[in-house]
Symmetry: C2
Subunit: 204 residues, 2 copies
């Protein structure tokens, strides 16, 4: 399998997908985005992918499947058919079935808006504010069967201001995400990594 072949799964605005594709176009991120899958037919991510000339852009409609397993099996089929080494989650809002996670163990990548292991879950930015941390950030990590729990590839720090709201903090974290996600994919393609215990050791 081509170690630079990437699929992106997205549900929404596709902003992380967009910055990844821009980074590829600029020659800063030597990966080959072969496939974009969305579970939402009207996801802007699909338009972004088509306009960027991604070879295969798929809307897989959950309503056409009897359950999560069946839906994920269809996605897995597409991923295998296009020989994608890496599956990049970019605002993908569905929970992955355990069989999907097991099948692509060590090959699914996610970005989370906190410095993991602090603030797992869907309300990471609110939770960080409420806890009163003075720094937060974002984490690119491999996906395993523990929520936001896989080995960490990269983290980037954002200062929390006393007058931050959920929106102001989230905006600054996203600015970091847009740098960190393509940079981490580039590093994966250029260097590769080993995993020791749960530590990601970059090869260069």
């Amino acid at each position: 399998m081509n170690s630079k072949a990437v699929a992106v799964m997205a549900s929404g605005r596709g902003t992380n997908l967009k910055v990844i594709l821009e980074s590829v176009t600029k020659g800063e991120c030597p990966v080959d985005v072969r496939l974009v899958i969305s579970d939402k037919g009207d996801a802007e991510a699909l338009t972004i992918a088509r306009e960027a000339g991604v070879p295969y852009v798929a809307h897989v409609d959950p309503k056409k499947f009897s359950g999560r397993e069946q839906f994920d099996a269809e996605c897995a089929e597409l991923l295998d058919r296009h020989s994608c080494q890496w599956i990049v989650l970019a605002g993908y809002m569905r929970i992955l079935s355990s069989s999907f996670v097991r099948r692509f163990r060590g090959r699914i990548i996610n970005i989370h808006p906190s410095l993991l292991p602090s603030f797992v879950g869907a309300k990471a930015v609110e939770d960080a504010l409420e806890y009163g941390v003075k720094v937060s950030g974002c984490t690119v990590h491999l996906v395993d069967e523990v929520l936001d729990g896989g080995p960490i590839l990269a983290q980037s720090v954002v200062t929390v201001f006393d007058d931050d709201t959920r929106d102001s903090l989230h905006t600054r974290i996203q600015i970091e995400e847009y740098k960190l996600y393509p940079a981490t994919l580039a590093r994966m393609a250029n260097e590769g990594f080993d995993i020791e215990g749960r530590q990601v050791i970059w090869k260069k």
Copy 2:
């Protein structure tokens, strides 16, 4: 009570005490360290305090008390007698009794070698390495009855390197501690803060 009157409690080498006293001497930290208490008679912290001219330097020997409550009551007595607004823990190895924590609620300050709420407890540096985080750091926080759980005053970030050992990472975190602890005490003295929920809001 003088809002700049500080007591330091230490058990060991007193390195955090030392940098605080140096910062005071240099005029960078406008607090008045009136009292240093150690539970260990041979703690270097006691020597450092005496040499720096701290007015009252006390070894309170746990062996002379029937239990933690009695020991803490003696310390509390000293703290009250010297009218210390802030109680700064600097490598203080004893667990504080709940009655002590309640009595000085919101006035006890600690520094912890991780970005809380990640990695509470005595093995923070090892735990961070084992988890595989790419950034760690240190946290100055108020002490409440939850282990390493009080409101956060300040945090400082340290990059974790792939080849870090417990010692190399701990050394770099300590370098940040030596800056962050005096800087935070200075900010407390110069600005003051309010607490909303668990968020520390600085007044300036």
